[in-house]
Symmetry: C2
Subunit: 336 residues, 2 copies
């Protein structure tokens, strides 16, 4: 491992000068700079990141906590965060929180331990109070897919309520009035918001929400399946169903077909998130698109702004979902 010291020796300059060309800072005489650079290249010198961090009190690393490392929803966000941050010369330390309060806290502690310059948190289970408290600490935090009053400029969030509203309205506009709903876990804030939007749309169309048409799933495919079976067994008829994410919608779709229903003729269906699997089902799943890539990128930019002084970056804090029509929705006719 060649050090800055050996470079300074070989180039006949002081440590400070070498350090200066390293940080292309200050004014170093061009000739000196060239000489140092040449020696560095020749010696195959690589700066020691750890030593730099210690001396400068900045690790150029940002900690990311997301629920899971796999899956289309999180994966896309992650990819965009990493790309944006890497372009800025930062690196990314990732951990998975598994939507569990203890693990989320544990991971945050861990990231703090790692001297991250900033944290991007996609957390479900930790309380607002905890986050507000954390926010008073020395390291900037950005909240992804969550809105907390009092730190709004550090939140990148999605208008889930509006998404829920759009999904229902889309079905209502096609004439449907008996609309089932397969939700995510009620305690997850985005689940709750989506359902709220759903109810608002029903309201707007003068339809009263029927609790018997609600099934609480867990955002995974089998629970969509279970939801449809449960609803069908209930004996209450419905002509459409909105699922709070695409995985459950895919399960619901297949289960409905298993029960002899033709989609969308007998039953219209819409998912949420517009992940890639919507294009693999048959018929292709209509869904609510969320700009996950943009949200990830924006979270990264917030960090750049808050911690690395990039005040020039344009930040967008709240994102709106939109409807994507595919083949799983048909207008209500007399024959459903």
């Amino acid at each position: 491992m060649t050090t800055i010291y050996e470079v300074s020796e070989a180039a006949g300059v002081s440590l400070a000068t070498v350090s200066r060309v390293l940080n292309n800072s200050d004014k170093v005489k061009p000739a000196t700079r060239e000489k140092v650079l040449a020696v560095m290249a020749q010696l195959g010198y690589r700066p020691n990141f750890i030593a730099q961090s210690l001396a400068s009190n900045r690790s150029n690393s940002v900690g990311i906590l997301i629920p899971e490392l796999y899956g289309p929803f999180f994966g896309v966000m992650l990819a965009n965060i990493e790309e944006e941050l890497r372009e800025a010369g930062k690196h990314v330390i990732i951990t998975a929180g598994h939507s569990d309060a203890d693990r989320e806290v544990e991971n945050i502690e861990f990231l703090l331990t790692r001297q991250c310059d900033a944290l991007i948190l996609h957390v479900y289970s930790v309380t607002d109070e905890y986050l507000l408290k954390l926010n008073e600490g020395p390291v900037p935090i950005i909240l992804l897919n969550r809105f907390v009053e009092g730190m709004s400029s550090q939140c990148i969030s999605l208008d889930n309520e509006h998404g829920g509203y759009l999904a229902a309205r889309t079905l209502l506009e096609q004439g449907h009035r008996s609309i089932a709903y397969i939700s995510g876990p009620r305690w997850k804030l985005d689940s709750y918001a989506r359902l709220t939007g759903h109810k608002r749309a029903l309201d707007e169309f003068g339809v009263t929400f029927n609790d018997d048409l609600l099934y609480e799933g867990n955002f995974e495919e089998p629970s969509g399946r279970a939801g449809i079976n449960h609803l069908l067994d209930n004996g209450i008829s419905f002509t459409a169903v909105v699922c709070a994410n695409d995985e459950m919608a895919a399960g619901a779709l297949d289960a409905a077909r298993g029960r002899g229903l033709t989609i969308p003729h007998d039953l219209s269906l819409i998912g949420f998130d517009n992940v890639s699997l919507t294009r693999y089902t048959h018929p292709k799943l209509s869904s609510i698109d969320c700009p996950l890539d943009e949200m990830g990128r924006m979270a990264a930019r917030c960090v750049l702004r808050d911690e690395y002084g990039r005040s020039d970056l344009e930040i967008h804090n709240r994102y709106q979902p939109s409807v994507v029509m595919r083949e799983s929705i048909a207008p209500l006719t007399g024959t459903n």
Copy 2:
């Protein structure tokens, strides 16, 4: 930021002693340890990871380079690597190589810069020579999903040839003899191996490989679609098709249906990788399962073994794929 120094002051012991309890090393008198621990807790002391790394010349971080951060194939591996390493108290720095030689090299350099203790590389484009050279450097490297002669104990690989063989044999056993093949990019080693296995199976059944039944895709869904259309337009009849991954198979499936074919009655189909989308298609896609989770975990264990002295860990270097039968394959009858 409270430091070890303040702890030592408050506890009335020396720096070294505090450091010792931190590393629960050596023999510290239990009473002393308790006292120090108590002071730490009271002061809210957190060790400075950067300083520890500099002093100990070990960063407890391992660099991961994978082609993409999203997608089921890479995501699962990544999740398992992270989990295994985190349990061992290490953290993970990730970057994406995008299957591009320049970016792969650039990212490796970057990770080296970051003082990673070891590297887990899932690379496609970089040459064997480069990897062998890299392997002579001071930092241990593990190759994921790749086999390089001369560093076999550091490779976690999949027997793609056998997978290709299995896929074809499955179809052959159902009586199919005209089998089309939609491959990945030829230059990707796993693509190539899968095709080789395919040919071996044909051979074994006395079927000669027909180049006109081969279409080279790019592992993405639209190319599966394009492949089917191309093959169908060619006018050469075939009763089955194997696709070198599931995404292309899903595309092929849908395109075939678009051309009026019923799956599997008119055309049998098998994918590769057994990612989650196989359960979302209709009919559900048969595939070749790869133990991606285990492979990821094993890569992490190799690092633990090679760099962190965990010689007790059992390592498995080569993995075998297996057939997963679902609904997209039917025996050849006279009526296809």
